[in-house]
Assembly symmetry: C2
Homo-oligomer: 198 residues x 2
DNA sequence: CCTGTTCCATGACCGCTGTCATAGTAGCCG
DNA sequence: CGGCTACTATGACAGCGGTCATGGAACAGG
């Protein structure tokens, strides 16, 4: 799965994101990406003349778009949209993965931040853009649920921060407890913001 | 600073933590650690016969102990200890660093998690222990401030998760905004838990 | 003095990495 | 067919990584 469809270029970006989120940027080799994508090694320099940095940046961008896109689908899946319900869905995506497929992977955007924020300026910008896109999507969703405009972005930042940190702790402990904890603790706070006067 | 005192062994562990939190585990070389610690390269195999993995694990352990130890000192610095005040201090340590020294480094425990959780079992355990020690210290502090026992650990997990995630976002954006945001948004929630009936 | 322990010095090894150079194939256009 | 572009194949290179082998200081105890 997750390999055959679409062109080799897109497959390589996708594979890069998968491998990065498991092993980090530095430990993920270009040859390994090509092999994982079942793409010819020679295509690397053809599609990514900017080298590894370009590939990583595109993988981060893909992850940001993916995360932002999920938000809308989470909303659609909620019978009665509430901020706490959205956050629970966001968290659940991770608990589901960890419980069904193990704790092998984290967030590729976080991995790129840790490994490249200081050493590659363009990657740091890509990571920043990914977080911004994701935060924007969540903030928009919050607004739609009645959260006052000036509270939407801060709460979105809080949601994503907590989720990212909980992912780290869950991977470390090999236990979804941190994820379920932040979901339960933050839910009421988020819901109460939806009914407050702006 | 931070180099001359103490023995070479301890200096190398400390330097490893510093370099890891800036560049990640994989991008930090052993020779680089020795040079940064102004320690002889030959001492590496003497003090760390377990190789890089041992050095990384000790650096993570050091970071966990350091973070846990800070909690008590934060408490002592607060005229009127409250959960929100403690969290504000924890966040402030990072905003202070970022504003005075730039966004060069993140949390070494997070870096080790991202880079080694899947590839080195002993490092994953070290990271788990570090988070546990830190969480335990925060939970203990919360209990001392009147937070009901069964709420202390979940809230401590929430605090550390949010902080870790905010550190990531702040580094990515090169802006302390995510840090100040989570502090402001979470403060009231934390304080309200201190006065609740257990 | 000899002996052992602790610590440091240095060079070599092998594997892997990203990148490049070069050449080859496929397919469309005219 | 020639010519052009898109894509693939492969080998080499230079660099760096962690690790190991070997040997030399420094210094203690006997």
């Amino acid at each position: 799965m997750a390999v055959s469809e679409r062109g080799p270029r897109e497959r390589m970006v996708f594979s890069a994101a998968q491998l990065i989120r498991r092993d980090g940027v530095a430990s993920t080799g270009m040859r390994e990406v090509a092999a994982h994508a079942e793409a010819p090694r020679g295509s690397l320099q053809h599609y990514f003349p900017g080298g590894k940095e370009q590939l990583v940046n595109e993988a981060v961008g893909w992850a940001g778009r993916y995360a932002a896109g999920r938000v809308a689908r989470f909303l659609a899946a909620l019978p009665e949209p509430t901020p706490g319900g959205l956050f629970a869905q966001m968290v659940r995506q991770w608990t589901d993965e960890y419980e069904s497929k193990g704790f092998g992977g984290g967030c590729p955007v976080a991995a790129a931040t840790v490994d490249r924020a200081e050493s590659a300026a363009s990657t740091r910008e890509a990571v920043s853009a990914a977080f911004a896109e994701w935060t924007g999507a969540v903030a928009l969703a919050l607004s739609d649920m009645g959260v006052p405009a000036e509270r939407a972005r801060p709460l979105a930042t809080l949601m994503i921060s907590s989720l990212e940190g909980a992912i780290l702790m869950a991977r470390a402990e090999r236990d979804v407890r941190p994820l379920t904890t932040v979901s339960r603790e933050l839910g009421p706070l988020l819901d109460s913001a939806a009914n407050a006067t702006g």
